[in-house]
Amino acid sequence: MELDAIQKDALAEFGNIGAAHAATTLSQMLMSPIEMTVPEVQAVDIAELHNYISNEISAVVVFQIQGEVADGGYIVVSMPRETVIQLTNRMLGTTDADREINEMDQSAAIEIGNIMISAFLDATAELLDIVMLPSPPALAIDMAHAAFESIIAQMAGDVNDVLIFNTELTSEAPPVYGGIYLLPNAELMQQLFLMLKRLMEPLP
């Protein structure tokens, strides 16, 4: 899968708007500023995925993209274990950072994912003037690569590469680090290109 420069730009801008809304939401939740990188859009061969997704133990919260785009692919929030613990501590006012992930952390991860992804999809759907909704979330606390593998197995039956939008979110206090990944399937991608092209056309 080859993307030309315009397609890459359009997709990056699309991701940028979604991720900016997600970051703002997280920042409001934590009442502290969140920094965000400009999303990178890459077509990644499945055999090379380990170069893009770490093997670190993370909370991976995944949503299927639904709405007008039927089974549009997946959107994922991935946060390393330490970040999840920090976030739960922050939200509950607890301080023990040196512990295993517990049930409270798991529901916090899901809730944070839910709120961020809803913001992401709301903003991007509005831009495109369509309805995009997240499915109920699924959670894995595991090696991030192992979790992504299961998602990609669902998508890459016929193709050998997937389009990954990767945005990193960081914050100083509390130290938060995580990423949002959008994994559109082929149909959604085509739809995105079309709609983005239309948006960029000059008004008649």
Binding site: I46, A47, A140, H145, A146, E149, S150, I152, A153
Partner: protein, 148 residues
């Protein structure tokens, strides 16, 4: 993911979730093949044989036969096929089906399974050294590690 390799040098695969690491080992020749299988059936898709259980097994066997192995001297190790996601519809949990198909196909081919670690809820990394009897290390995401 989706790759396969045959040879005498160490091989491995990291961050295995619903996928299966299938290792075929010929002790006599210190030769092994490893495939990182993503999905059960290829439905005629042949561009990446390591990706699907049915094509991975036949290509691994073919490659190993080129080095002189016969089915009778080959034993299998099957690792992976975890159910990674909680609260999810079953669509994300392809692991169980992957494992079942790999085992069926091995039985069909008459290949003995020497060791299996299938299912569960944890991701795994697998490393294999084909020399002599073969050495297997499985690191699980929960921190446990086994060596054979």
């Amino acid at each position: 993911m989706g790759e396969l390799r045959v040879g005498t040098c160490p091989m491995g695969t990291i961050g295995l979730g619903s996928c299966i690491a299938l290792i075929l080992h010929d002790q006599r020749r210190s030769l092994a093949g490893l495939a990182h299988i993503m999905l059960p059936e290829s439905h005629g898709n042949t561009d990446r044989p390591g990706k699907f259980a049915d094509t991975a097994i036949s290509v691994l066997l073919e490659e190993m036969e080129k080095f002189g192995s016969t089915k009778f001297s080959i034993a299998a190790i099957v690792v992976g096929g975890a159910k990674m996601f909680q609260f999810s519809a079953d669509s994300l949990n392809i692991g169980e089906r992957n494992a079942a198909v790999v085992k069926d196909l091995l039985q069909e081919q008459g290949i003995r399974i020497e060791y299996e670690e299938i299912g569960g809820k944890v991701g795994r990394s697998v490393y294999y050294w084909p020399e002599k009897k073969g050495r297997l290390i499985i690191k699980r995401a929960d921190g446990t590690c086994i060596a054979l």
